[in-house]
């Protein structure tokens, strides 16, 4: 058993080395000296306190979307709709803040209500995908894809329609909120509340999946729906609940983006965090404990590669290429391992 874990880690590390090798070739081919380029990514991520803060700001929503999909994965569901659920969280949070911003309620209360309402929004959106699957027989992948489009459309409609800035609506989003309604931040936009909630969510999900009866039954449903049903586990209720939880976490991520980072609703506010969360979840082989370092690594790559653009005029999309190579190579490694060492 112990040996198995190390073999596992060995394969993941091998994949990382291989991914670095390939990206080094890409960098060289694109005319950037690879070592210096990696140096500047590192520098871009951790070189100054501002950069570290930027990494942490990216880290928080990624943690939330990743642990969210860990729950749905455990239930055997492909929740491709996390992007949309995060967007709805942002919309609902904005909605609550807009409704209450001119009242005499204490700002702290409004902020908290905004966050809660955002979680409700995400959960509602996820429940749509769940209902389509449970009652309509729509595969959750197709349902999620469709709902992602609709959530984008809804945001664009709100930003250009009912919630548009005084004058003309623009892609830069709605009118920013009054500063009293911003989540308190340290320095340049890092909200200890947002980060704290995200880490708390990771711990709770870890405990839920690992140490509770609920988590065990959820995993049973994911592994074998039929057997679980015969054993008397209310299967569809469990699936639905997994969707709701994941949606609430994604909604929280959206609400945090609105209240602590952008202070308004933007088109494309989910910014690929949902998809990235799916990749991280896969990369850590669905073990919640690894979310913390791997999500941090991804966040650092994303933020650090902005530096590449500045120094070498290379596109910051480099981070994406590296991340996806990593995922594909890990998949490759898992397959190779299965072939030679049998199933883990």
């Amino acid at each position: 058993m112990k040996k198995n874990v190390w073999v596992n880690i060995g394969f993941q590390a091998g994949a990382l080395v291989l991914a670095l090798l390939i990206t080094t070739l890409i960098l060289a081919a694109a005319g950037a000296p690879p070592l210096k380029a990696y140096g500047s990514i590192l520098n871009g991520a951790f070189g100054s306190s501002n950069n570290i803060v930027a990494v942490l700001i990216t880290w928080a929503p990624l943690l939330l979307t990743t642990v969210g999909v860990l729950i749905t994965f455990s239930a055997g569901l492909w929740n491709i709709g996390v992007e949309g659920q995060m967007t709805l969280g942002a919309i609902f949070a904005t909605w609550m803040l807009r409704m209450l911003q001119d009242t005499n309620l204490p700002p702290a209360l409004i902020i908290i209500l905004g966050i809660l309402w955002g979680m409700v929004g995400g959960a509602l959106w996820a429940s749509l995908a769940g209902a389509l699957k449970t009652f309509g027989g729509v595969n959750e992948i197709f349902g999620g894809l469709g709902l992602n489009f609709v959530s984008t459309a809804l945001t664009i409609y709100l930003v250009f329609g009912p919630w548009k800035r005084p004058g003309v609506g623009s892609m830069s989003g709605t009118q920013p909120f009054n500063e009293a309604l911003w989540l308190p931040t340290l320095g340049t936009g890092l909200s200890p509340w947002g980060l704290g909630l995200s880490i708390l969510a990771v711990i709770l999900v870890y405990l839920l999946l690992r140490g509770t009866y609920f988590g065990l039954r959820l995993k049973a449903v994911g592994k074998n729906m039929k057997a679980s049903y015969l054993l008397g586990i209310p299967t569809w209720q469990y699936s639905m609940f997994a969707f709701l939880l994941c949606g609430a976490l994604a909604g929280l991520a959206g609400a945090i983006q609105v209240e602590s980072v952008y202070h308004r609703l933007l088109p494309n506010i989910s910014n690929g965090y949902g998809f990235l969360g799916l990749l991280v979840a896969m990369l850590i082989n669905y073990q919640a404990i690894w979310v913390i370092p791997i999500a941090l690594f991804f966040a650092a790559l994303n933020v650090g590669s902005v530096q590449l653009q500045i120094v070498y005029k290379m596109d910051s999309s480099f981070a994406g290429v590296l991340q996806d190579l990593l995922v594909l190579l890990v998949l490759l490694g898992q397959g190779v391992r299965e072939r030679f060492l049998g199933k883990a």
């Binding site: 469709g146 459309a153 409609y157 990749l279 596109d315 996806d324 998949l331 397959g335």
Partner: protein, 310 residues
Amino acid sequence: MISDLLSVTVLIGILASGIRLATPYLYAAIGETFGQKSGVLNLGVEGQMLLGSFAAFYVTFKTGNLWLGLLTAMLVGALMGLAMAYVTVNLHAQQGISGIGFYLFGLGMSELLFQSLMGSVETIQGFPKVHIPFLSDIPGIGEIFFSQNALVYGAYLLVPLAWFVLNKTTLGLKIRAVGENPDAADSLGVSVARVRYFTIILGGTLSGIAGASLSIALLNVFQQGMTSGQGFIAVALVYFGAWRPVGVLGGALLFSLVNSLQLWIQVLGIPIPSDIAVMMPYVLTILVLVATVSRVRAPSALSKPFERED
């Protein structure tokens, strides 16, 4: 102003551009149909389209040869299909994840290549219109259907061809068998792996053409992320079309006509609020989603990796 929409010239314009805009959807969704029929859900279509779109544009820009550009896009798409096939067939990877991985890979890679090889947005002369003799002279009809470029005609020819291959050939039978019951197909001597390799590579090739149709036949530029979700819509169209080429055609036309209508509304400056016009294709997605609820059954083995019991 609304009456502007109803004038004959505008109607012809809307229909003609609707027919044209369906092209990328058709290539991508027909390719995806083959994959899903054989039990493989490829969510990486968008990434394949983006890389194909860049490859076609870059080669055409450098060599001036449109066909060479198209060929490169097909090759790039096929290679991505090959990689996808290896990951899904040999490594039994979760298809949802590997597809998203390929999507993000295509997205990042096409941007990276664009930045380091080109750096700025250029335009080219795309595939010219081919007027079909006599037919293109028919008033109205001629302009709508018979004055399009080669890739548009190709897309529509693909529909009956795909129907024929899937339903009337041994290959089609094998594809469907592998998608419905891989164990049975395997026991009858059909190689599940070979069939799936074929369909995924074919799907990749067609996605490459879909991307090329955007960059060297319809818009004639390359911009970052220019497919703007069309690859994902193509995946949904397969579902909407109930895994039948004709259904896919219907879905593609519905989307492209609504899109074309929306573009014309903006061009003509008709006082329908533009946010509502922009919303139209998306609202359509909801309706489509609701309309297809439990209407049809997916191939039984869709998205399930096949493993022979030893």
